[in-house]
């Protein structure tokens, strides 16, 4: 009896730690069970295109989490910097330069870098002044920056910055940028560089992952802490199954090959960002991020410049978010000047949390899995609403409920766990169980 209880209490932390991803997987599966009219290739097409749009910006959240700043809702400001860059480049391109799509994209990326880096520096300074309350500060500074953004684009443009009133991006009265701006050449500029069939991409990506997993396992094998055999075998089997199925699908040309083609360059960019995030953690700077994230006090007493390290983390996050927003918008095709960025912070944070990340811990795979699960929920919820209540709109409400519910729940679980660990008890056995 006692043994069984011990077993349960050992498994409990695993369950509570991963409760959010489990709910989402269950929800998506439920969706498939309830609705028989969602074709798998439609689902995958939707899911994959949403993944290309969002993954980059979700990945930008990882570094601040590791550096101990928590969830950086301030990526909204990064997104605004990206939009600012797009508006400037588009304006100049239409007016004087008449660039091609790829060049416009290139200049957007180049221009967004200094803007986002500067703003990241300022927000980083702010977070250092609001130590311990970075998350709420990042949320509020996002709202504040929105006001500044509106001031620049709605008033300063045309009144302070001279612009041509007849420019298609400017409102007819000559003051302010229009509500919606067409991305023109920029639309699909990244997507159209190169495309590959979906299953082939899946095949290649899984093959690369498989070699990576095996190679990592073999090099780290001697260490008991890194070579969890069960998880390794599960990973290998899963990847092998995917490879086998891709080969089967390609050979038989079944339904699933009809999934939308993959924008290769976008995928490569996302891959590079994953690689960057992983590699930076293997440098001195990355180790400083981790030290500062684990304990500012100990890091400082060992001579690490805590404030500077935190600012660098915020700058990186903001710049990545700016680029992520540019990639997102070139996929969308139109820029909703005053609305496109407002939800990006909430949704990206929710996606990261859905992947199993917490306020203190986030990994690349959590970001990627989270993006997939979160968007699955987005696709399935109207279908479930339709199937259960005969009303797709109910599913729409459900989405909103899920987004904020998930953020609230993840934060709640985090604080609850923290309090549980900090609680002083007389029983040493109980204490040990909590430590593990």
């Amino acid at each position: 009896m006692r043994k069984a209880k011990n077993m349960l209490s050992k498994q409990m932390p695993y369950l509570t730690d991963n409760i959010v991803p489990i709910i989402f997987i269950a929800f998506t599966l439920l969706g498939f069970a309830l609705t028989d009219n969602v074709p798998i290739n439609y689902f995958l097409s939707e899911l994959s295109s949403r993944f290309y749009r969002n993954a980059f910006i979700v990945l930008s959240l990882i570094i601040p989490v590791i550096a101990g700043l928590g969830l950086n809702f301030g990526i909204v400001i990064g997104a605004m910097s990206g939009q600012l860059a797009i508006i400037i480049v588009r304006y100049l391109s239409i007016e004087y330069l008449h660039l091609s799509g790829v060049w416009e994209l290139f200049f957007c990326i180049v221009l967004a870098l200094p803007i986002a880096a500067f703003i990241g520096f300022l927000t980083g300074r702010l977070y250092n002044k609001t130590r311990g309350q970075e998350m709420i500060a990042s949320l509020i500074v996002g709202f504040f920056a929105n006001g500044v953004y509106q001031f620049i684009l709605l008033f300063a443009t045309g009144v302070i910055i001279p612009v041509r009133a007849t420019h298609p991006m400017i409102k007819p009265d000559g003051v302010g940028v229009r509500m919606t701006v067409d991305m023109g050449e920029l639309h699909y500029s990244l997507q159209n560089i190169m495309k590959t069939p979906f299953m082939w991409t899946v095949l290649v990506v899984s093959a690369v992952l498989l070699t990576l997993v095996v190679a990592l396992y073999l090099t780290g094998r001697k260490r008991p802490d890194k070579g969890n055999k069960v998880i390794f075998i599960i990973k290998v089997l899963l990847l092998a199954a995917i490879i086998a199925y891709s080969v089967f699908a390609i050979a038989t040309k079944n339904n699933i090959t009809k999934v939308k083609e993959v924008p290769t360059v976008t995928i490569i960019f996302i891959g590079l960002l994953c690689l960057f995030t992983e590699l930076i953690m293997k440098t001195k700077l990355g180790q400083d991020f981790r030290s500062v994230g684990q304990s500012q006090h100990i890091a400082r007493s060992n001579g690490i410049n805590v404030d500077k390290t935190r600012i660098i983390a915020v700058i990186m996050s903001t710049v990545m978010a700016a680029w992520g927003q540019i990639f997102y918008l070139q996929d969308m095709g139109t820029l909703n000047v005053y609305g496109a960025h407002t939800q990006i912070g909430m949704f990206s944070v929710a996606a990261l949390l859905v992947g199993g990340a917490s306020v203190r811990k986030a990994t690349v795979s959590q970001a990627l899995i989270g993006t997939i699960l979160f968007n699955s929920m987005f696709i399935m919820s109207p279908e479930i609403g339709k199937a259960v209540f005969g009303n797709a709109l109910l599913g729409e409400y459900f989405r909103t409920f899920m987004v904020y519910g998930i953020i609230g729940m993840a934060l709640g679980i985090y604080v609850w766990n923290d309090n549980r660990k900090a609680r002083i008890t007389l029983d040493p056995i109980e204490l040990n169980a909590q430590d593990n």
């Binding site: 802490d225 440098t283 400083d288 100990i298 007389l426």
Partner: protein, 532 residues
């Protein structure tokens, strides 16, 4: 043992006109284990802070005298400067990151890196970590300590003994370490871990590293040190070769304060044989002050003192009885068992508590003296309230009158009874705490560190007040204090706590050596027998 490594010459230090160190002279030789001992507040930490150039020293106006390292005068402005000169410190509180491996902790901010493509453009920060070399360095340091544990193990979940060793490994991994300071390294260790640590310290000394060993455990000092320096009240008492002295002598020199016993009026007191509070096998989980099986009987009408060194658990006793920290065991108060972990129950039963944490537990800093005085009585005893049947509101007239009487009785120096408690001086804050405790009309008063952070004049007032409460109202008082002299001046009996248990009960007239030995956890009888 070789040449002189470190010389401390005539070092003095004042904090706001309060002399905490007077003309300290010390010499540490290469390869020497030099024990530094003294009671709490004797000036050991201040001396170490000076040696390490802690900011607190410069912020309070520096120090007088000079420190020489290898014959050259040095003055460190920050701990890093001290470290770069080869001085290391093994902290009492662990400065380890639990989520890191042993290697990562040993190498924190001294990571070994290799240049790569990116770092050639963007700078050293982007160089990749060389985990292989870091691991092998960590391995070397661990081997010196004789630790077989794998260097890539996470620190979280390791026993405290291991953590202590990792701290030391970090220090010896630093190149050119010359002097290592151990600040009470054995306080948290078990017996066998302690022996391992002492062996490791001797090994380090054998390699020519000078060691300053701060400890309260005299037996350890006798075992490993070559010389011992004793500080008392900020003064250098003596430096002796360990082999020329004994535990008895050290203990006496450590406490050796002339106690003026001022026990007039004690004739009129009536201490009955009735036991008012009986504590059996009390365990309290108070961080840093754990109680591990405490037994004590308190007689009605007496003032009993609980003394002992910091961290031994004396503070945990009162906090455990009052339900402030989780507790277990049996407490019988006035013949009835007292429910533990229930602050309300303890107060209702007639026990009042003056907490050592005046600003955290004792006072509502942003409230007036009035509210602070009557707060507990309002909450628990439902006094000072107009009862309107369905609702109760404060009776401000009654509160004002009562508070003004208290202000007069206790001589609280304030502008009015509406002044905020936070703006009072330490002594007056303590008096407000006292006023609140008295408002509850307690039969038993628990007092913890009543004079901590209070100037000398106010100290005497507080102690006199306690004494008069006891004499005039027959109030039973349990007083916990780090200051032995203070306990000896007013208590009838003094229980000395060591390692969470009562080591023994002494009369205030007992000799210095008896107190000193008991506080250090030495069995008094055997050692004294040996010395005489």
């Amino acid at each position: 043992m070789g040449d002189i490594l470190l010389t401390i010459k005539n070092v003095s230090k004042e904090f706001y006109g309060n002399q905490v160190l007077k003309d300290i002279n010390m010499e540490i030789k290469k390869g020497e284990i030099h024990a530094l001992i003294g009671e709490n507040g004797a000036g050991k930490s201040t001396l170490m802070n000076i040696l390490f150039g802690m900011p607190v020293i410069h912020e309070t106006g520096g120090y007088q005298g000079s420190i020489e390292l290898d014959g050259k005068e040095v003055m460190f402005n920050s701990p890093h400067e001290a470290m770069s000169h080869g001085i290391g410190m093994v902290h009492q509180e662990f400065m380890l990151i639990p989520g890191f491996t042993i290697t990562e902790n040993i190498k924190i901010n001294r990571e070994l890196t290799n240049p790569n493509m990116v770092s050639r453009i963007f700078g050293k920060q982007y160089e990749s970590l060389d985990m292989k070399r870091m691991n092998s360095d960590a391995r070397k340091a661990l081997d010196i300590m004789g630790m077989s544990i794998e260097e890539y193990t996470l620190v979280a979940g390791l026993p405290v003994g291991h953590m202590q060793f990792i701290e030391i490994a970090r220090e010896i991994d630093k190149t050119g370490i010359k002097l290592l300071v151990f600040d009470e390294p054995t306080a948290v260790l078990t017996e066998s871990e302690t022996q391992n640590l002492l062996a490791a310290i001797q090994k380090l000394a054998a390699q020519g590293i000078g060691i300053i060993f701060i400890s309260h455990r005299l037996e350890e000092i006798m075992q490993v040190s070559h010389r011992v320096t004793i500080l008392r009240d900020g003064e250098h008492v003596v430096t002796k070769d360990t082999k020329d002295t004994n535990v008895y002598e050290i203990a006496e020199l450590m406490v050796g304060r002339k106690v003026s016993l001022d026990r007039s009026g004690s004739d009129s007191r009536r201490i009955s044989d009735e036991i008012v509070l009986s504590i059996k096998n009390l365990e309290v989980k108070m961080p840093g002050e754990e109680v591990k099986g405490f037994d004590l009987d308190v007689r009605k009408g007496e003032i009993i003192g609980i003394g002992g060194l910091a961290g031994q658990g004396k503070l945990g006793v009162a906090n455990g009885i009052m339900g402030i920290f989780p507790a277990r065991g049996q407490v019988i108060y006035e013949g009835r068992p007292l429910e533990l972990n229930n602050p309300r129950g303890a107060i209702t039963a007639g026990i009042s508590f003056l907490s050592e944490d005046r600003k955290g537990v004792g006072l509502l800093l942003d409230e007036s003296i009035e509210i602070n005085t009557v707060f507990t009585s309002m909450q628990i005893h439902k006094e000072f309230l107009h009862n309107l049947g369905f609702i109760r509101i404060m009776d401000s007239q009654k509160i004002r009158n009562h508070t003004n009487k208290m202000i007069k009785d206790l001589d609280i120096r304030c502008t009015s009874s509406l002044q905020h408690a936070g703006s009072l001086s330490g002594g007056n804050q303590q008096k407000v705490c006292m006023a609140r405790a008295l408002t509850q009309k307690p039969k038993l008063l628990l007092v913890s560190e009543p004079t901590r952070g209070i100037d000398i004049g106010a100290k005497k007032l507080i102690l006199d007040l306690l004494k008069s409460l006891n004499e005039e109202q027959g109030m039973t008082i349990v007083m916990t204090s780090s200051e032995l002299a203070e306990l000896r001046s007013i208590c009838d009996r003094i229980a000395i706590v060591c390692d969470g248990k009562v080591k023994g009960i002494l009369s205030p007239e007992a000799s210095n050596a008896e107190f000193g030995l008991m506080m250090s956890g030495v069995h008094a009888d055997s050692q004294m027998g040996g010395a005489e």
